[in-house]
Every structure is written in C-alpha cells, then in structure tokens.
C-alpha cells in the first residue's frame, strides 16, 4: 500500500445504524466504569436513547490481570426508545487478555473487537490460561479484530508532558474512549470539560487525559485500519428536557424532592452497603435542601435513627440492600406498630447472605412483604427503570406521610447503577403532600385528652403529634395499643381488632390500576413483571410482535397493596407468565391472592434478563412448545431453559 492509496481511501465509509451495543472491558484498575460513563454522557448529549449495564467485581482491586478482576461496562444506544442495556455487544473493547477471555463468548460472529495489544504478554496470557496468543492464531478469525497498542500510543502522545511511563499509561482508557468516540461520531467537548473538572487539583493529569483522549480520536482518523465509522441518529423521544441518570441518583433526587413536596426536613440514617451507598453519598451533598445524613454504627442504628427523626416530625429515611433489610426487620416492625412515616429503600443484590454484592437480583420481594414477626403489613413500591426511581421515592414518601406507615421501595443493582435518558420532571408540577400534624386534643368523649390511635375514617391513618406540641403528650411503643386511646392493651379482642385495622389501612391505600399493553387486544399470553425486568420483558415482547405474534404485557409497580384491577386482568388471559430474577416470588403472591395459574420463568444469575432470551421463552409459550403450557401446576420452571436461550 502506497501513501497515495492512503490519501485516496482515508475518508472511511459512514454506515448508518439504528442501534449499537458497545462493551468496554478491562482490569478493575483500568477505569472501565469511567470510560463507559463518559461514552454514555456523550451519547446522551448527542440525543440517542440509551441504557447501560455496569458489571464489576465486589473486590476493590482484585489481583491485576485475572479473570475475577475483570470490570466491564455495556452501553446500548439507538435512534429509538430502547429498554435494555442490550444482549450482546456489537463492539467489544478488551484492554487485556483477561477481559478478552471473560467477554469474547458474548461477541457475535462478525462483531468488532478492539484489543489493547500491549497487555498481551506471555505472563498475562498464562495468568488467564491462554497457551498461545489468541491475536496470533486464528482463534479470533470470526471477528473483525483491530489490534491497537494503546499503552504504547498513549505513552507516545504524552511524551512531551514529562509524566512517568506508569502515569502516562494510566490514561490509556481515555485513548480507547477517544477512538470509540471517533468511530461513532460522538461529541467530545463534554469529556474534555469533565476531565479538566475531575482533575482540577492535578492539572497535569487532566491535560494528560485530554491528550490521550485526543490521541485516540486522531488515531482513528489517521490510520487506515478502520474502514468504517458508524452513525446512530438521535432518538425521537417524548418532548421534554432530558438528562442521563442512574437509579441511585434518581432515588436520591426523589428523596430530596419528597422533602419539598411534604415540607418536611429529610433525615437519612444509613450504614454503608453495596449497592446502596451511593444514595448516602449523594444525599450527603444536599444539606442545603434541608437534608441531614447520618452514617450510623450499623444497619439497625440507621433505621432506628430514622424512626426517631420521624417521631420528631422529620421524613425519616433509611437506605440499604438485602442483608441490611434482614438486620432492620425488627425496627421496621416497630415502625409498623408505631404507625409513623418511614422510607426504607432496599437496593436488592444477589443473595442469600452476603451473596453477590455487586450483582443484581430481585429476591427480596417476599422478605419485604413478610419479613417481620407478627402481622406487619406495609406498602411496597418497585421502580421499573433508573429514572423511575425518582418517582418511586416520591410516591413512597407520599404514602408514608399520608398513611403514617413505613414503605419499602425495592430497587436493584441493575437499576441502581444502570442509566438512561430521563425526562426531567417539572418541579412545579410535583404534587404537594400535607403532613397534617395534630395540633389539638381529639378525644371523642370530650375529655380534652389526646388519643394517638384515633384513626382518620377515610385513610385509617392515626394522628401524627410531634414533641413540642402542648397538650398532646403521649407515649407510643411496640406493645399492643388500645384502639383509639393508644394505651397498652392486652385485651384479646382489641388485639384482633388492631391487627385487622393495620391490615385494612394498608389494603385501603389508593394505588393506580395496572395498565395492560395488548395492542391487538387479542393476545392469549400475558407476561407480567415487576421492578427492573420491565425493560427486557417489553423488549422481548416487541420482538415477538415483530414476528407477527400477539402478546400482552403488564407491570406491577405497586406490589402491596396490588392494583385493584389486577385479578380481573390476570383472569382475562389464557396464560399468564411471570419472568423474575428469583425463583418465582411474584408468581407465588399472584397465585395465592388471585387463584390464577401463573407460570414462572426464572433466572438468578446476578445479571438482567436478555431481550432475546425472553423472546425465545415467549415464543415457546406461544407455540405451545413450552412444557409449562401443557401442565396445570407449573410452578417454577426456567433455569435450564434460561441457560439454553
């Protein structure tokens, strides 16, 4: 090839695509999450719809270059509204042999593979069990392989800066980002600004990262190695102002906003736990909004302090993940008995026990529902997407204040760390909630006493009288209380009545009817989900419809109490299928409550469902091939099918 040839062919072909999935994979020290975040921000700024899936080890720095140390970030972006972070990457960026080995199985034939060759040393290859260098044999022949000496090129670009070899090489993730940004025509002003702000205290590091980023971009432009670049047009989303947001950030903003809508100071009592800690971090930045954050000595103190704050008239909040919910159970039961507002955020992760701290799962539903001693009902709300965490937190706070009850919000690891474009709500349109503090004695007998358990006839909520209110001094506690008066009561009939009153209060909470998406109105299969499975379920259903089939979907956002029309909806369909990242917890509730033969498709791998996988399951059910379609007692079936999908 002559230089003239290069000149002639230097303008690469631009291919237009509807959607692309990119996965950045490297060592956990390689900055893959940051790289993914930045590409996401650029993509959001460009106006694509997007969805992301970070996937990283629980260890902060697992041994370098090993398979357990691989960290990845997958991003799906498109020119239409998408619902999942994508099943398989179209492009895999592998920063070392471990990242290649751990991820190559997901790359489809013909997929683009960009490899940082500098890390493919004999030692690193041996570490992950490669006998030969896969870049030098034909094992990668099925893929479009682009070997790039990223560390060397980065070092070269930073020669002038005087940075040490080691420091210079650390910027290689920005080189990769620059290269991909060029390939996909992403804007780059945001990243340069971001880097200058992030490293404001170390301007030389900021400059090095910007240089590396530009070098990656220039490399794409000037080498003839890449014959094609891709264009994904902006998506046509609903009108509005958008930003990119993760579930944990949206949840934090929802809590801040709840302080505004209720007019209450927010008090967060929390103990650090993955993957919920970011909510504590975020809220601790927003003191100016009247938010107090308290890092407690343990999970129990987290919820205890929140209950104390609520007793004092604040909006008490506690945030945690599954193991923390286990520890908080007794205190949540106390809040049920005290009938005080309390927000409990459970960002679910893999269990049981310590389980898989950084992976997602939705196996705390029954714990949220029943995980307390005695009859201790409480409302449960589960957001369906990262941005929806904002609305879930707001709704939970409104219910907590209106009904004087603890409310559990069930998020999960995929929502917490995943991100999407978010149609930013108009603050002036948020519905205010009047806490209606008690100010005067209320005894119906005219005695001038205050009865702390005299209920509102409509909501069955009790009065919330905060210390400092003269004449309303009263005592509450975990012992059973006399209906109305609230003094200790061991009376059998009173206990039975109070149990039923507490249940009736929760059962009577107003929740919106469930909406069914059944475009043809003729579907016989209804797929019902909750929480973060919303995306893959709807995406799977779209694919099935695209093949000419009829399928209905519905999503249960209010898990307790459930929508009033849910039983009727379930009975309308010949087959009801509930895909869950647990062994069938929603299905158990639905079967028990509505006597409908709900089928389960379950997978508990720590990763979200894939759209293709659900599509195949749906098709099985539609064609009658699925074993469960021919049985009447099909409870939990799926793990094996899931693995085959």
């Amino acid at each position: 090839m002559t230089t003239n040839d290069v000149a002639v062919t230097s303008e690469p072909e631009v291919v237009t695509k509807d959607r692309v999935v990119i996965r950045f994979a490297g060592d956990s020290g390689d900055g893959m999450q940051l790289t993914g975040d930045r590409f996401t921000s650029e993509t959001a700024a460009f106006g694509n719809d997007l969805s992301t899936l970070p996937n990283y080890p629980a260890e902060i720095r697992a041994p370098a270059g090993t398979l357990p140390g691989v960290s990845s970030f997958q991003l799906h972006f498109a020119n239409y509204d998408i619902l999942t972070p994508g099943d398989r990457p179209d492009v895999l960026v592998a920063m070392n042999p471990a990242a290649l080995k751990a991820n190559i199985g997901d790359l489809p034939h013909g997929g683009v593979l960009i490899v940082n060759t500098d890390e493919f040393t004999k030692r690193n290859l041996t570490k992950v069990g490669y006998d030969a260098n896969p870049l030098e044999d034909d094992s990668l022949a099925d893929f479009q392989v682009h070997p790039v000496a990223m560390a060397t090129l980065t070092r070269g670009a930073l020669e002038e800066t005087g940075l040490s070899k080691k420091d210079a090489e650390r910027a290689k993730n920005m080189f990769a980002l620059g290269l991909l940004s060029w390939m996909y025509h992403r804007p780059h002003e945001g990243t340069e600004r971001f880097l200058r702000e992030k490293f404001a205290r170390k301007p030389e590091i900021a400059e090095a990262n910007v240089l590396a980023f530009r070098a990656g971009h220039a490399y794409g432009e000037t080498t003839e190695a890449f014959a094609v670049t891709y264009e994904v047009a902006p998506a046509k989303l609903a009108p509005g102002t958008y930003r990119q947001i993760t579930g944990n950030t949206a949840m934090s903003y929802g809590i801040v906003a709840a302080g505004r809508t209720t007019g209450l100071p927010v008090f967060l009592g929390s103990y650090p736990i993955t993957p919920a800690s970011d909510i504590l971090h975020e809220l601790s930045k927003h003191k100016a909004f009247g938010v107090t954050t308290f890092q407690a000595e343990d999970e129990i103190a987290g919820v205890g302090s929140a209950i104390g704050a609520s007793f004092g008239g604040a909006l008490g909040v506690t945030t945690t993940s599954g193991p923390g919910i286990s520890l908080k159970s007794e205190a949540i039961g106390l809040a049920v008995s005290l009938e005080l507002p309390l927000l409990v955020i459970d960002v679910q992760r893999g269990g049981p026990s310590t389980g898989l701290p950084t992976k997602t799962e939705q196996a705390d539903l029954l714990q949220a529902m029943f995980g307390r001693n005695g009859e201790a009902p409480l409302p449960i709300i589960a957001p369906q997407s990262p941005g929806d965490c904002f609305h879930a937190a707001l709704e939970a706070a409104a219910v907590a204040v209106r009904y004087r009850t603890p409310v559990i919000v069930l998020s999960d690891g995929a929502l917490a760390n995943g991100s999407e474009p978010w149609n930013v709500p108009d603050v002036s349109a948020l519905e205010p909630v009047d806490p209606q503090f008690a100010t005067a004695p209320n005894a119906p007998d005219g005695s001038g006493e205050f009865w702390p358990y005299l209920r509102d006839s409509e909501t069955l909520a009790r009065p919330w009288a905060v210390p400092g209110t003269p004449g309303l001094e009263h005592r509450v506690g975990g012992l059973e209380k006399a209906d109305g008066r609230g003094s200790i009561s061991y009376d059998p009939d009173n206990h039975d009545r109070m149990i039923r009153l507490r249940q009736a209060k929760i059962d009577g909470i107003t929740v919106p009817d469930i909406e069914v998406d059944d475009p043809s109105g003729e579907a016989e299969l209804l797929v019902i989900g909750w929480g973060s499975t919303f995306g893959p379920i709807v995406a799977g259903a779209r694919r099935v419809r695209g093949k000419g089939h009829k399928i209905a979907t519905a999503h249960v956002r209010n898990l307790n109490p459930m929508p009033a029309n849910l039983g009727e909806v379930l009975r309308r369909y010949k087959t009801v299928l509930a895909p869950e990242m647990n062994l069938g917890q929603l299905a158990l509730l639905l079967r028990g409550r509505y006597l409908v033969d709900v089928k389960s498709y379950t997978k508990v791998s720590g990763l979200p469902f894939k759209a293709e996988e659900l599509q195949d399951v749906f098709l099985d059910y539609l064609s009658g091939d699925h074993p469960d379609t021919n049985t009447t007692n099909g409870a939990t079936h799926g793990a094996v099918t899931g693995a085959q999908a």
Partner: protein
Amino acid sequence: MSTDLGLPSIGGLDLVPHTDAKQTAKDYTSDQEVRWCPGCGDYAVLAAVRQFLPTLGIKRENTVFVSGIGCSSRFPYYLNTYGMHSIHGRAPTIATGLAVSRPDLSVWVVTGDGDALSIGGNHLIHALRRNVNLKILLFNNRIYGLTKGQYSPTSEVGKVTKSTPMGSVDHPFNPVSLALGAEASFVGRALDSDRKSLTEVLGAAAAHRGSALVEIFQDCPIFNDGSFDLLRKPETKDQRLIAVRDGEPIVFGPADDQYAVVQKGFRLEVVKAASVDPSEIVIHDAANHELAFALSRLSDQNLDHTVTGIFRNVDRTTYDDGARAQVQQAKDRNPDVDLQALLNGRDTWTIAG
C-alpha cells in the same frame, strides 16, 4: 486532631423552650398505673425523676423519654411527657435521630443493664463517642428481670441464676469504665435510694451538653434482692461509698474514722485519712479522664469501694450540634438552592414537541 467547628459552648437545655409556669411532680405523672413489682428500685427512680423534671424549668411537651425493652423500659409510660417504648437495645439510635433533628427537645434514654450493655452495647458506645445531646439513665440491677431471672452482663462471676445453675462463668462489665472508654463526656453514678445525690447527678447531666451516662444502682427484689445492701446498710455503707465532688478532696467515712483516696503508681488506693499528709489526698477533677477511669476501677463487683457522683464532665462539641451546623452552613452558602436546577444537572438536552 479534632475539628473545631467554632460552635459556642452552651448548656444541655439552652435550646429547649423554657417556662416560668410552676410545674409539679403531678404534672409529670401520666394516668397509667405503674406495674413494677412491689419493692422494685424503679419506683424510687421514678419518684425522683418526677420530682426532678419540674425543677428544670423547661416545657413539659419538649421533654421526651425513649426506652428499650426490660422492666426499666416501661418508664416512659409513667411520665406525662412525650415518650417511646421501643425495641430491645435500640433506644439510643432512636434518641439520636430525634436529638439530631430536634434541638428544642430534652431527650432522655431509659435503659437497663441487659438492654444497654448486652443487646444494645454497640449503640451505647457509639452514642457516647458521638456525644449526642441525650441523657442515658442506666438502671443496673445486675439481673434480667422481665425474662424472669437470667444473669446479665453486670452479674458477678459465679452468679447462680435460672440459666446458670452451676454459676455464671461470664465476666461482667464495669459500666462506668466502659462509658469512659467509649469517650463519654459525662459519666455519673448514683444509688436509687439516695434521692439527694441522684437528683444532683441528674441535674448536672441535664445541664451538660452532650451524651451523659448515669448508672443507677437498683435492686430487683424478686430475682436479685439485696444486691446493693452493702451500700445501703448503715453499718457497711460508710466504709464503702465514696461520694466524689469536683474540686474536693476524696475522703469518706465517719468523721472520727475517715478514709481517703491517694495515688499509688498508676492506680488509686484507699487509706486511712489520718495515715497520710492531707496534700497526698486526691482532689477530684471531673475534667481528668485518667482520674475518672482510675476512680471507676476502685469499685469491683464486690462493692468494696464504690464511687458515686460525677466521674467526668467535659465540654466537647456534640454530634447533633455539628450536624445541624453543617446543614445550616450549606443553607447559608446556597440561599437560592433550586430543586429544578439539581434535577437538571449540568448536561441536559431538549426534545421539542
């Protein structure tokens, strides 16, 4: 290194609304029938507290008692203030959330040796370390009463109880040493039946800004009767009870047969006052952490020498004042804080309709 938050040193009740109205013990008595066993030491403490609270001159509705689980934890029901009977061991956590969010309240925790030192041990030490403005009354009867007589974390080694028929092999806590080790800024001790001293310690605790731990020795007449008799009987108490007072030499006993506390190496020792030069007698200094600890080590489970009064009383920025100051500072710095701007963040894009 400590961070100076620049907060003024103020008293424990300075932010609580005061009243000039005359209040009585009756005002602080709820309509609930008291249900402790006849002869229980809790009665004496309840009577003392009902007498004592009106003297504080604060509004009754701004007083809150929070308790855990156990006999003593029924205490809030019997006071006509705001109150919460919570769950086992967790009262300090609830009181912490309340005290942080409400500076205008006088917050009290009522707990026992099992509640505070066994199931709630973690919360106790952290509340003390943080120095939250709350007062902890630790009723120590060295036994589990409500569960009908098992040994507690303050029971003597060898104690025969329902759960230790061959005697307990468990080593007990010294609650005062524990509190001092947990960085408590105020630690006091009193005997339930000594109304005068108890009231004095409670008064100083209420005036103290920060966490105050008051250990109250108290009898369980059903399961551990007479456990503090050595400190009560006229014939033994004089040789055993050492009432300390800030700035005064530590001497005790009848005038004609006085004892004194002197320093010996790193420890304190009790000697006949007449046998030492008066200059050798230790002067109590409630600001001296090491002295307070040494005093706590004079008393053992055998009650040979038992110090009462205020061991330690020092000023240290409270957690709740610090936390509120940060919130205020953030508000002052951002007077025009805008929720819409927060939600929008820095990078938004608009899709037109």
